[in-house]
Every structure is written in structure tokens, then in C-alpha cells.
Amino acid sequence: MSTDPQRGTGSSSALSPADRESFFAAQRRHRRAARRYSAYATVVVLVQSVPMSVMMAPLLLGVMVLAVDVVNLAFPVPDPRTWVAAVADSAGAPQAVQVALAVVVVIVPGVLVMALIWWVMRRFFLRSGLGGAVLTLPVRAPDPADPEEYQLLNVVAEIAVSAGIATPSTLIAEVPASNAAAVGTSPDQATIVVTRRLLDEQDRDETLAVVGHLVASVANGDLHIGNTVLAVFATYGVAATLFLAPVDAAARRTLRTMLRVVRHRSDPVQEAEAVRELIAFEGGDGMIAGMVFLCWRLTYWVTNLFFVSHWLVAPLRARRYLADATAVQLTRDADSLGRALAGMQSHGPGVPGGGYAAPYFVLDPQGPCGSDAGGGGEGHDSDAGGGGESLDSDAALGSSMHPSLGRRLARLRRLGYLGPAPRRFSAFREHPVRAVLGYLLLLVVGVPLGVAIFATVLALVLTCVLLALLFLSFAVAIVVEPLHVLLRGIA
């Protein structure tokens, strides 16, 4: 089989020269897009943290009151509730001051706590390298006596030379899927995980292209960014357990496990299991705990579904395009990468349990499973991969962390992929009358409907926040008030 990396990117593409793009230009474009999307994602996450912070306010204020009461045992400190009441009730205080005070009291503590949790979780992920998530799959070291696995070791070393980085370590995953991932904390500590099925089904050039994508992703710093985004999801998991801790024993137990793992360095697989348990937390036994958790979940789902998830995964998608373009620079072979991606999609990239570490895979591991793969090459035209869930059942809520295969292949064609063009449906071209009528209908019905849905969503979020505030205030008051009275009495 041909293995010459000096081979050009092909010349028989149907695209005109004006449609072609150099891999350097493509990388610049995707890098700019990734930066822009990262800025949007940061803003969106901050906005989403506001309702979450409001719901956490009673708990945090209760803890603050008790902490001040404890300090009061040694040094006289006025009751903190009297400070707030004094300012809020003062008739002379300007309205702006009262609003600012309310914002500070209700929102800022929650935002600060969530920022602190995110920072700790990010450090934790950077330490343990969420690689443990993938290592929980059945992986093993490659067998040099096996020709395909020996070839893989060579291919990884070749691409590392091309990228000018240290050769990553390599593992084989025995799963019925055609996929691959790069895990670790930094380019120097990266590990390439390739499924055995991929080795059996791809030729040398295609394997080279897939590994090129992973090494490009590592060299571009995607491991760091993936860890940062996953830390955001873990933050919501920790916040949910923290939120429920006063009223739910399961939440307290999960928090203790997580604290133990974070404080004491342990096996990456154990750490990954702890994070998995945290993110997939399904606590909420008892009526109050159940209601509080339901409100939290509803708020999280609704904000994710309508506002957050799309923007949060957008930088990760942009970085997949960037890794594709960089892989073409490393191998000078866009055609093999396009063929490899289409083949993987048709053979089934679904990795059971791999959705937890979706950003690290070449194709969405929540896509079609390999077990029902029958070939057929549908991947060329399909838009598969764009609708699968990632991370866990909640995290990305319908927004895949991977762009659709069709879009990736369309971009690869501009770099030299010779495969069939992804099908693009144009309603105006194929059914112009129906298209015009459809758009008119959308304008007349769709816009008011959209506004109504938006208003309903906002009302739902507000209701959830208020209900959670009510339930949690009640629960916190039952615990905090007697303790507060007792501590003040002692003082």
C-alpha cells in the first residue's frame, strides 16, 4: 500500500481552484473561530450560573450565618441578617443601592462558589487527565508481534516526527467500534487510544490520517481545552450535590467520595469513576430533596437546551475542524482523512461508555454503535454525529461535541478530499413555490410561536428558581435557625 507522505493532496477534485483552501489558511480560520466561540461560551456559562447561584443562595447564606455565629463565640460580631435588613429597610437608601445589595447577597456568593468549584475541578482534571475516563474502557498495550498493532506503533512515531512532538504512548481498546481518542493532560503526557476494529478496517494511510488528527489535536492544545469544558459540566454536578447536601444523605456521601479523591491522588481509573458518579448524580430521596432536585434539574435542562449547550460545545466543534486542517498539514493527505472518517462513520464509531470523554475522540463516541454496523458507506452523505448526546445524559443535551460528518467532509474537500460531496438540500432550488410558502408560514406562525416558547421557558426557569428557593429556604431554616439561636444564646 502507498505510504508516501510527500504525496500531494490530489488533483482530480471537482472543486475549482477558487474553492480550494490551503491548510495554513484553514487553520488560521478555524483558530479564529475557536477563539470567538470560546468567548461566547464563557459569557453563556456566566449567564447560566446566575439562576443556579440564586437557588444556592439560601444554603450559602445559612452557612455564612452559622460561620459568623461561630466567630461570634470568640469575638463579638453583629448578626449578619441585621446588616442586610438594616440596609434593605432603610427608607433613605437609594433604590440602586438596594438592588445592588440584593444582587450581591443573592447572586455573588453562588457565582463565587461555582467559580471556586470549577477551578478545583479543572485542576483535578488537569492532574488526572480525564484520560481515566477512556482508560475505564477495556484497553491494553499494543502487541508488537501483531502486524497491525506493530504498524500502529510505527504510524504514531511517524506522525510525532511530523508534528515535532514527543511520541505519545499508545493503547488498543477492545471495543466493537471504529474510533480513536487522544487523552492526557499535555502534549508530553498524551496517550493515543485506538480501537482494534479501526486497525482491522482501515488501511495504513487512513490509520496515519486518523492518528494525524489526534496528534494534531494534542499539538493544538485541545486536551487542555477539553479538560476545561468538562470541568464546567463537573461544576454543575458538584453544585447539584452541594445544593442537595443539607437535605439528602446520598448527596453528602457523593461529596465525601469526591473530596477524598481530589485530596488524595489515586489511580486515574478510580478518579474517573468518581467523576462519572458525580456528573451522573441522581440523588434526591425524600419529598423536600426530591422537589429541590427536580427544580434544579429542570432549570439546568431548560437553560442547557435553549441557551447553553450549543454555545458551550461550539469551541470544541471548531477545534475538531482545526485538528482536521492541522492533520492535513502533517500528512499532506486530505483524501485519506476523508476516507477514514467516512469509513469510521459507516462502520460505527459508537463506544459504549465513551461518551463521558467525547471531546477526545475523532468521531462522536455516542454515534451509531459498531455492533450494528453493516458497512454501506452512508457516512459520505449522512449528517450523523450531529445529534448524539455527549458526556452523560444531561451534559450537552442534544448538542454533540463533534461537528456533523457531512460538514467535516465538506471542509476536507476544500483541502483535497476526493470523495463524494456531502448532499446539500436547497429548498428554494428544488421546490421554490413550497419553499416560499413555507417561509411565509414560518414568519406568520413561527415567530409568534418562538416568542411564546421563549416566554414559557423564561417563566418555567423563574418558577423553578422560586420553587427551589422556597423549598431550600424552608429546609435550611429548619437546620440553621435553631443552631443560630443556640449559638447566639451561648455567646
Binding site: 506493530y150 510505527n154 511530523s162 515535532g164 499532506r332
Partner: protein, 187 residues
């Protein structure tokens, strides 16, 4: 007062340029130049790897290729010449001819091996062929990485305003490497 400002602002701008931009631009050029040197060293490493691989390949196939002494001798001679040229003063550029000759000889050997069914079914020979293919790829990738690094360095040193620094600090242009090291192309 305004006259003072008119003098002060350009002076402050000049200070900012000298204190912030010049060191940053200088360090950037040094980093790119070092990447070129590092990439060049990587080519040497891979060429030595190929030299070390040839004896194993020859010993694995020579039992079957008694009638192909010319091809085997050509590879042996080319390998000896390439190893002998390692310390030559011309550096990598000076050794291009001997390395190209070794590529050509290995290409001939590969073509001969393809025509012997016993060799194509030998696991040992297949592994050595895979190693040879991988080594050729690594050399080509190392050359490609070197030339990409040269492009980045030369573009940086020739574009304004960094080109103002290159004369003062001795940043010479780097050379592209033109090696025809592909076995398959040299048959």
C-alpha cells in the same frame, strides 16, 4: 504643557517599542530559528535509523536472493557510503547525494523482494519492510517538518517590522532541504 506632551508621547511610544516589542520579536525569531535547527537534527536521527536498518534487511533476504548479488552489493556500497559521509563537513546538504543513492538502491531491493513470493510471505521480511517504510516516512516527515519550520522562520524574518531586526542581530535565512528519499519514487 502641550509642547511637553508632544515630546513626551513619542518618547513614551519609543520606550514601549524598545522595552516590549523588540525583546518579544527577538525571542520569537530565536524560537523559530531553534525549531529549524531541531527539525534538521531530527532528519539526521532518522537517516541514522535507516543506516542501522539496512544490515538486518540484507541478512533477512540474502539467503533467497543469491542470484541478485548486484542489487545486494549496490545496497551494501550505498549504505557504506552514506555511513562514511556522516561526519563530512558539508553537513546534511553535503550528504544528499549519498542518501539519495541509498534510497535508490533500497528501491531496487524492494522491487526485487516483491517478485519473490517466499519473501513476501516471510513474517520477518514483512516486518523489516514495514520498518523500512516507516523509516522512509519518518525521514520524509522530518524533512517536511524542517521545511515548514524554515518557511515559518524565513517568513517571520522577512516581514515588516521584524525585518528591521534581522540585520542587527544576525538572523541569516534558513535553507530548504531538497532530498529525494522516497524508496517507491526511486525505483
Amino acid at each position: 504643557m502641550s509642547a511637553g506632551l508632544l515630546v513626551l508621547v513619542p518618547v513614551l511610544l519609543l520606550v514601549v517599542v524598545v522595552v516590549v516589542w523588540v525583546p518579544a520579536a527577538y525571542n520569537g525569531l530565536v524560537r523559530l530559528r531553534n525549531e529549524v535547527a531541531n527539525a534538521s537534527g531530527q532528519i539526521d536521527t532518522q537517516l541514522v535509523r535507516r543506516h542501522d536498518l539496512v544490515p538486518s534487511l540484507l541478512s533477512a533476504v540474502q539467503g533467497y536472493l543469491q542470484h541478485e548479488r548486484d542489487v545486494l552489493d549496490r545496497v551494501t556500497r550505498a549504505r557504506a557510503a552514506a555511513v562514511g559521509a556522516l561526519g563530512s563537513p558539508g553537513g546534511l546538504v553535503g550528504r544528499v547525494a549519498t542518501e539519495n543513492e541509498l534510497s535508490s538502491a533500497l528501491g531496487s531491493l524492494t522491487a526485487v523482494v516483491e517478485s519473490y513470493p517466499q519473501l513476501r510471505s516471510s513474517a520477518n521480511v514483512l516486518r523489516l519492510q514495514e520498518d523500512l517504510v516507516s523509516t522512509e516516512n519518518r525521514i520524509a516527515f522530518a524533512r517536511q517538518h524542517h521545511n515548514d519550520a524554515v518557511t515559518a522562520y524565513n517568513t517571520a524574518r522577512e516581514t515588516f517590522p521584524r525585518n528591521l531586526l534581522v540585520g542587527s542581530f544576525g538572523f541569516r535565512p534558513a535553507e530548504y532541504l531538497k532530498l529525494d528519499l522516497s524508496v517507491s519514487d526511486s525505483r
